[in-house]
């Protein structure tokens, strides 16, 4: 048991924190709110120059081969700064292709991803299905040696700006993964406007013809592999939420130390202190269940239970913390110029994304040796 970060890990944190604090100014953020991507090319390039998009990718594809623990620390900083969610989406998409793609696909796509010149987006959820592949309406069929993809995927993170989609499609009785270049004939993108303004998209595939080499891994058996990768991405998402929750606690503690009413700082009130203390407890728990999940995944330990615990706790804790923060900030945190609402919306999205609190509790119940209802 050793809970401290190494010097190297602290350096990752510090550099990311410094960079994001300097780059993400209030003016810039307000300007980004008005753009379709939610950020500008200069910011994206600056992130790319730091190597973040390749940080967790294998070195032979231009990445730095960082483990999930280190990648988690980087993502935590993105969450702390409420950095454009596209950065997280691009990191997650790249990691998904590194795990699931064929050697040829990795060779062809990952070096550009690592340089920040291409984005891979994982496309799994649909309007009426998220975690049950038998319910997928998206299908892949054979025409000779070629493939035909039909259907619509939704809630594709950073989907409008992606260059490749890694699509999970029903294939006979199983699920196959196919890598689809965004500019293929028959692919249509429709942005989805979300609460957190994080630029998700619905991607329509209409009789999209693909070569057999578009298959990522063996056909019809992709679901368990996808589940394994989903666990890694969920743990990273938890790291984003831990960072965000930390920022929310920090801004709230600072605010109640400054704000005066009735001639005293409101942080002297016991009711306020109790609320802040409960935020701190929830966060400390989230930090360690999340790091535990990342550490176990990175060290190839069984982690299904730990990931479920991390997601179920962290999503709920982060969201509830933002609500307490709103209560304690009052009007000061309610105005659009204040950043609190960005965290609050992101907390809701984080709780919903890749399995909600309740869904992960259901998953966890399945690991407790309880026979599922018929």
């Amino acid at each position: 048991m050793h809970l401290a970060l190494t010097d190297e890990q602290q350096a990752i944190q510090q550099e990311a924190r410094r960079f994001l604090a300097a780059e993400i100014t209030r003016e810039r953020r307000l300007a980004w709110d008005a753009t379709p991507e939610g950020h500008d090319a200069a910011f994206w390039d600056a992130v790319a120059r730091l190597g973040w998009f390749g940080f967790g990718l294998p070195e032979r594809y231009g990445g730095q081969g960082a483990s999930l623990v280190e990648l988690g620390l980087l993502v935590e900083e993105c969450g702390r700064a409420a950095a454009p969610f596209g950065v997280f989406a691009a990191i997650a998409g790249g990691l998904a292709l590194a795990r699931l793609g064929t050697a040829a696909q990795r060779r062809a796509v990952l070096p550009a991803v690592a340089r920040g010149e291409a984005v891979v987006a994982l496309a799994v959820a649909e309007a009426r299905a998220a975690a049950e592949p038998r319910a997928f309406a998206t299908t892949v069929r054979r025409r000779g040696t070629a493939l035909v993809l039909d259907g619509e995927k939704q809630f594709v993170l950073h989907g409008a700006a992606a260059d490749h989609y890694l699509v999970a499609a029903r294939d006979g009785a199983g699920v196959s993964l196919v890598l689809v270049p965004a500019r293929t004939k028959g692919v249509a993108v429709r942005p989805q406007r979300t609460f957190g303004q994080d630029r998700q998209a619905a991607i329509r595939f209409r009789r999209v013809a693909l070569p057999a080499t578009a298959l990522a891994g063996a056909p019809r058996t992709a679901w368990p592999r996808l589940e394994a990768v989903r666990r890694e991405l969920v743990a990273l998402l938890c790291a984003d939420m831990v960072g965000g929750a930390d920022a929310v606690l920090d801004m709230t503690a600072r605010y109640v130390c400054e704000r005066e009413q009735f001639g005293v700082r409101i942080g002297t009130f016991q009711a306020v202190q109790a609320m802040v203390a409960d935020m701190a407890i929830a966060l400390e728990g989230a930090r360690h269940v999340t790091r535990q999940a990342l550490w176990r995944l990175a060290h190839r330990r069984p982690a299904a239970r730990e990931v479920a615990i991390a997601k179920a706790w962290t999503g709920r804790a982060y969201r509830l913390m933002t609500l307490t923060a709103h209560q304690l900030h009052g009007g000061a945190g309610y105005v659009v110029e204040h950043d609190l609402h960005r965290y609050s919306a992101r907390a809701v999205e984080g709780e919903l994304l890749w399995g909600s609190t309740e869904e992960w509790l259901g998953e966890l119940a399945g690991t407790l040796g309880l026979r599922a209802p018929a």
């Binding site: 360690h288 179920a312 706790w313």
Partner: protein, 390 residues
């Protein structure tokens, strides 16, 4: 970073587990159930003797005092395994009073008391609270006045659990009436066989007996004042600090959770397995999450102690969280048991031997005892997060 016990820690855990598997018998567990978990029955005493013979009576004490010198995380593992196995708890003398004597006492006092605590010849009750001094301990009025070579103690203590069986009492007394109130308190060892001591039982909701203890001109040798005069408040706080390793332990909650899980797996209600009822599944998964979070907070606290850091905020976090989880688990568990959840421990049909009721009734004590959770939250806010005192 390493979110896993080291091979040495795992070996220690397995060693403890193996010992407990052999020596915590169903008969011992049954005896403790009836004794209200005080661990004073003959089988509990025999078990403590086995721990002593094994050299595990004072695992956290430094070797020069006869301990094993185990570090905080190893102690945490030990406590977690003890609780999970349902073993009788450790004595406050060993876990709380002795470490305070090691830190604060003179060399003579250490030589005098530590071997006797270790051998079990001396067993302490802890007397801090009074009728008008609970959370505000520095308001205590019990006074000790020096008369020749003896202190003369007068006053009343409350919640002096174990005073009726202990050989000695670890008493906070006011010795410097003119000093500022935090600076006027000293810690004194009062042998319970002295004339002038009256022990009056108080029975609590959880069936645990505690006591009101009256001191009337009780004469105590001068050298029984431990450490420096006027520093007792700080020694008392220090003694509480040593209890903190145990605070974050969720071993007991894991034990209850496992029993609840087994109950759900084997039980049908309304013709349906409980395990197939969605709210039951959800409630169990949610408990699993919460218990793991508690374990992480407890580990963080123990790990910081080993690093030589003072886990003020973290200790309070673990205390608040785990004690409140006790109440939540008990209530949720009784809800899962359904109508049978209300059956008393002595009803033969009571599921889980009515143990969830016991947990439910001890949970309030956990929350207000050992520093109320309200005060712990203030500590977290003020000392941990820099919120203003005034």
């Amino acid at each position: 970073m390493r979110y896993e016990y080291t091979p040495e820690q795992l070996a220690w855990r397995d060693e403890v587990r193996g010992f407990l598997k052999k020596h915590v018998t169903p008969a011992l567990v049954a005896e403790m159930r009836l004794a209200g978990n005080e661990g004073d029955g003959p089988l509990a005493r025999a078990f403590h003797r086995k721990l002593f013979d094994k050299g595990w009576w004072a695992i956290g004490w430094p070797p020069e005092y006869g301990g094993l010198g185990k570090r905080a995380v190893e102690q945490f593992i030990f406590i977690e395994e003890m609780e999970r196995a349902g073993a009788p708890g450790m004595r406050l003398s060993v876990t709380s009073v002795a470490p305070a004597i090691m830190r604060a006492g003179t060399e003579e006092q250490k030589k005098e008391w530590l071997p006797k605590i270790l051998s079990g010849e001396v067993d302490f009750a802890v007397a801090y609270s009074e009728p008008d001094a609970g959370t505000d301990l520095a308001a205590l009025k019990t006074r000790a006045v020096l008369d020749g070579d003896e202190w003369v103690v007068n006053g009343q203590k409350m919640w002096n659990t174990g005073a009726h069986t202990a050989t000695h009492n670890w008493v906070a007394v006011r010795t410097e009436p003119d000093a500022p109130r935090h600076r006027g308190i000293s810690m004194m060892i009062v042998p319970m066989d002295r004339p002038g001591i009256t022990v009056q039982p108080i029975y609590t909701w959880s069936r645990i007996r505690t006591n009101a203890v009256f001191f009337e001109d009780v004469r105590v040798p001068r050298d029984h004042l431990v450490g420096e005069r006027g520093m007792g408040f700080y020694y008392a706080m220090m003694a509480l600090d040593f209890e903190r390793i145990a605070l974050g332990s969720v071993g007991l909650l894991r034990r209850f959770f496992d029993e609840l899980l087994a109950f759900v797996r084997r039980t049908k209600r309304d013709g349906k397995p409980l395990a197939a009822i969605p709210w039951v599944r959800r409630a169990l998964a949610d408990l699993d999450v919460r218990i793991e979070v508690g374990r992480q907070l407890g580990l963080l606290n123990a790990w910081m102690i080993d690093r030589g850091e003072v886990p003020t905020k973290e200790g309070s976090m673990a205390k608040v969280y785990v004690t409140e989880l006790n109440a939540h688990l008990a209530a949720t568990g009784m809800e899962i048991l359904g109508l049978a959840g209300q059956l008393a421990p002595d009803d033969p049909a009571a599921p889980l031997h009515g143990r969830l009721q016991w947990l439910y009734t001890t949970a309030p004590l956990q929350r207000f005892g050992g520093g109320t959770n309200e005060v712990q939250r203030m500590i977290i806010a003020q000392r941990g997060l820099g919120l203003p005192r005034k």
